[in-house]
C-alpha cells in the first residue's frame, strides 16, 4: 500500500464523494439514466474540451459565412463569382482536403494500435495533401488579385477573401501543428499526453473539412447557379 493510499484512507475513510467503492475514488458511480457510470476517462474529457473549442471556431466561421451570404451580390460592377471561380480547381481542392482528412483518420487507427511507422507515414500523407490544397488556394488568390479582383474591389470579394482566407489560415496553422506532432511522436513516442494531442489534432483536421464542405457548397457551387 502506497503512502498516498494511506493518507487518502485517513482523510476520507468512507470515500465520500468518490463513488461507492474502490480505491482512489475510482469506484463505480451511478450516472442518472445511464446505468453504471463513473468518472469519465481523461481521453473523453480532453476530446470534449477540444470539441467545445472547435464549436466556438465553427461559430466564428458562421459569422464569416453569414457575411458572405449577405454580401455575395455586392460586386460593385466588378467580377462576379461565376466569372472568377474555376470548377476544376474547387474539385481538386475538395479532393485533396477530403483525402487528407481520410489519411488523418488512418493515422489515428495506426496510433490506436501503437504503430510508429504507419502513424508517421499517414501523418506525412495528411500533411502533403493539406499542402497541395493550400498551394491551389494560394494560386487562386494570387490569380484573382492579378486579375484586379482584390479584396478591396467589392464587398463580395472582401467577404470571399475573409471567409476562404480564414479557412486557409486554419489549414496553415493545422500544418504547423501537424509538423509539431510528427516531431513529438518521433521524440517522445506514444505517451498519454501525445496521444491526447493527436486526438485533438485529428478532431481539428476533420472539422476543417466540415467547414470546407460549407465553403465549396455555398461559395463556389452556388455562385455557378444561374
Amino acid at each position: 500500500m502506497s503512502t498516498a493510499d494511506i493518507v487518502h484512507r485517513d482523510i476520507d475513510p468512507y470515500k465520500l464523494g468518490h463513488g461507492h467503492a474502490g480505491d482512489f475514488g475510482g469506484g463505480h458511480d451511478y450516472a442518472t439514466g445511464q446505468g453504471e457510470g463513473g468518472p469519465a476517462s481523461r481521453r473523453v474529457i480532453t476530446g470534449f474540451g477540444f470539441w467545445i473549442f472547435l464549436l466556438s471556431d465553427i461559430v466564428m466561421f458562421s459569422c464569416f459565412f453569414a457575411a458572405f451570404a449577405v454580401l455575395r451580390g455586392g460586386t460593385a460592377g466588378g467580377p462576379t463569382g461565376r466569372e472568377l471561380f474555376e470548377t476544376w480547381r474547387v474539385a481538386a481542392e475538395t479532393a485533396f482536403l477530403l483525402a487528407s482528412s481520410f489519411a488523418a483518420g488512418l493515422a489515428a487507427v495506426a496510433t490506436s494500435v501503437r504503430s510508429h511507422f504507419w502513424t508517421q507515414a499517414f501523418l506525412g500523407v495528411t500533411g502533403v495533401l493539406g499542402a497541395c490544397f493550400l498551394f491551389l488556394e494560394a494560386q487562386e488568390f494570387a490569380s484573382f488579385i492579378a486579375q484586379g479582383a482584390s479584396p478591396q474591389h467589392s464587398a463580395f470579394l472582401s467577404a470571399f477573401f475573409a471567409f476562404v482566407g480564414c479557412h486557409g489560415l486554419h489549414v496553415t496553422l493545422g500544418l504547423l501543428w501537424l509538423g509539431t506532432m510528427m516531431a513529438q511522436v518521433y521524440v517522445k513516442g506514444f505517451r498519454v499526453s501525445i496521444l491526447h494531442r493527436l486526438l485533438c489534432f485529428n478532431l481539428f483536421w476533420h472539422t476543417l473539412d466540415i467547414i470546407w464542405v460549407a465553403i465549396f457548397t455555398v461559395v463556389y457551387l452556388m455562385s455557378g447557379v444561374p
Partner: protein, 134 residues
Amino acid sequence: MSENGEEFGLNSHDVAPGVMDAPEHSIRAGVQGYLIGLGLAVLLTAASFGVVQTNQIWPPAIPIALVVLAVAQIGIHLVFFLHITTAPDNTNNILALAFGILIVALVVGGSVWIMYHLNENMMPMHQVIPAQPS
C-alpha cells in the same frame, strides 16, 4: 467502464484515474469506418458537383439540393470522422453540438433573413444614384 475498474486495481499506482484507455486493437474495424465515411463523402461531393454541372434539374431547385447534400455530408463527417455518436460517453459532445448548431442557425439564418428584408425595403439603386451630389 470495466477497463477503468481494472486500472484502479493492483498494477497502476503511477497513473491518475482515467488516464489510460485500453487501446483499440481492431485495425479492420477502424479502417472500415473511415472507408465508409470516405465513400459516402465522395458520393455526396460528386453529387453536389453533378447537380451544378447538369442541366437536367429545374434551376430553382439546385440551391436546395446543394444545401441538402452539404448537410448530409457534414453529418457523415461528424459520424465517421469525428466519431460523434449516441453512446453515453458522447452525450456531452452531442449537447455541445446541438448548442453550436443553434448558434450557427441563429447567426446565419438571422443575418440572411434580416438583410434580405432590408434589401427588399430599400429604394431601388437607380432612384438613389441621381439624388446624390456628384
